[in-house]
Amino acid sequence: MTKENVIEIHNLRKTYDKGKIKALNGIDLEIKKGEFISIMGPSGSGKSTLLNMIGALDRAEEGTIKVAGINLMKTRDLSEFRSQEIGFVFQMHNLVPNLSVLENVEIPMYETRVKSEEMRRRALELLEAVGLKDKADKNPTKLSGGERQRVAIARALVNHPSIILADEPTGALDSKTGDVILNLLKSLHSKEQVTLVMVTHEPYVAEMADRILHVLDGKINNSS
């Protein structure tokens, strides 16, 4: 049985600087549910812009984009979509410094109707999955770079999203720590049956994916 598409993009266009910079220049893309996709390309090719479009952090000017059954071009308030369907992992972990590790993982659940006790239970469960349960009450500034990124991964998964979008998740880490993070992402991807879309510069990282997309000048150059 063929899997259904979780992301469907047709002729997606986005410009910056009053049309002078064509960040996305007619993207066509389909990603199936549960797929692990790597997006590669030089700086400024449009790969992060594409990721932002899928995650509804930005809006395109032309084309169609449907993610998890929702037409992002026609939906006005996309915050609920982001909360329910998307989990972001950034290059910089972007944790809130004055909150504990546990509280950082709880943050995405404020927009859901989950009670405090359930929030705590779910966050601890995920921290256990990323091997940081014992550091739940620590401040993120006391953690290493790899540990912080693991917290960010737990935060991305806490609302059980259908898609994880990772923008160079190992970019700020040494190769050994980077491998730990990649293995974690990969195992969570298979365990949670979640679609994983990852932007990376590193070919060996990209090769871990089911499919690699090469983006150049705002277009998908080839797919391998």
Binding site: G55, L57, S79, R82, S83, F90, L99, I107
Partner: protein
């Protein structure tokens, strides 16, 4: 962790900045509280003239002011005349003279204005001037030179029961000390009417007459009747009228207090805007992340606005404590003769918290709006 806990934690991330903002607002709140306490104290002193049991109407000679001039200017026979007026329960003639006993320097209030006032009254009529109880005993009517003094006079002159005071060359023994709650009386003394009349050559004369009306009578109506019956001689003022007149003067202090409140709102508001804008700037990336994980614009707006209000409410608590301490210090060390006490009323507290809340909303609204409108991609790129 609840959303509310998060809002409480955030304003104190930069402790120095939060402390400075709190101090700025707290000074404004402290000023409001201090002025409110002084106004409240004066108002409660005024209202105590209305206490139950005391006379409701003060009758003076026309043109002599609310409490009459010193010296005997009314014929004592009027005291009996007025008692026969319809609706009157009791009357008391009072002779008021200045003691010429100077109080220690540095004092202020009625008690220090070149001596205190000595009132002559029949000892059985003391309830009409609000003196229900005396620490010691009351003076006896007739020729004995006995006197009771107000607590403020006792403090200023350092007199106790058994001390003596020289008035017009005659030594009076202090038999009691009273506290009527009326700051005008508490800064004076009472003795036998006939003794004072004889001593000051005012035989058969009084300065003013206190009138108590029947329980079922209307004080304003009785007051009007008295004036109608003595159109050319007497002026009758009810205690309510008097309190209202004093309150009108207090209204000026109140207006000044409101002007300061307004200033506090403007200055505090600008301070809060500055603090919160700095905070939003520093947390731009963080706000981007919150949007990325699905926070709605209105939750971000609520968070920043909530942080701003928490900051100002903390400032309100600090300001109220600061204001109370300041007033206590001023009254303890700089106002030695306390003719009234500062009173912290619920109104003042509500006003302090109301102003703080307003400053929090006014100051937090723009930064909160700005934060809620941040584009997530730009916020996430912010260095």
């Amino acid at each position: 962790m609840s959303f509310f806990t998060l809002m409480i934690k955030n304003p104190f991330r930069n402790r120095t900045r939060a402390t400075l903002a709190i101090i700025g607002i707290a000074i404004g709140i402290a000023t409001i509280v201090a002025l409110g306490m002084v106004t409240g104290g004066l108002q409660s002193s005024t209202q105590s003239t209305l206490k139950a049991g005391s006379a409701e109407i003060t009758v003076t000679k026309i043109g002599s002011g609310n409490f009459g001039s010193s010296g005997g200017i009314l014929d004592e026979s009027l005291v009996t005349d007025l008692k026969n007026t319809n609706g009157v329960k009791d009357t008391a003639g009072i002779l008021r003279v200045n003691s010429n006993v100077s109080t220690p320097s540095g004092g202020s209030g009625f008690g220090s204005m070149g001596g205190f006032l000595v009132n002559g009254i029949d000892s059985s009529k003391l309830a009409l001037v609000g003196i229900d109880s005396v620490n010691g005993t009351i003076f006896t009517n007739g020729s004995s030179n006995e006197i009771i003094i107000g607590k403020t006079v006792a403090q200023n002159l350092n007199k106790t029961v058994g001390s003596t005071i020289d008035i017009y060359g005659t030594e009076f023994e202090v038999t009691g000390i009273f506290e009527s709650g009326n700051f005008i009386y508490d800064t004076g003394a009472f003795t036998s009417l006939s003794t004072l009349q004889n001593l000051t050559n005012n035989t058969g004369k009084v300065s003013y007459i206190q009138v108590k009306v029947n329980d079922n009578a209307n004080a304003s109506q009785v007051s009007k009747t008295i004036q109608d019956e003595h159109p050319n001689d007497l002026s009758a003022t009810t205690a309510v009228d008097l309190a209202n007149r004093i309150n009108q003067s207090l209204g000026m202090i109140d207006t000044a207090s409101w002007a300061i409140s307004l200033l506090a709102i403007v200055i505090g508001g600008v301070g809060v805007i500055n603090t919160m804008i700095m905070s939003v700037f520093e947390r731009t990336r963080e706000i981007g992340v919150l949007k990325a994980v699905g926070w709605k614009d209105r939750r971000i707006l609520g968070m920043i606005l909530g942080e701003s209000i928490i900051l100002t409410l903390v400032a309100a608590v600090v300001g109220i404590i600061l204001g109370i301490v300041a007033v206590e210090i001023i009254f303890k060390f700089f106002i030695t003769s306390q003719s009234f006490e500062a009173v912290l009323t619920m109104d003042t507290l509500l006003k302090a918290f109301g102003v703080a809340l307003l400053v929090g909303i006014v100051g937090g609204l723009y930064p909160a709006y700005r934060a809620s409108r941040l584009a997530p991609t730009e916020a996430l790129r912010y260095e």
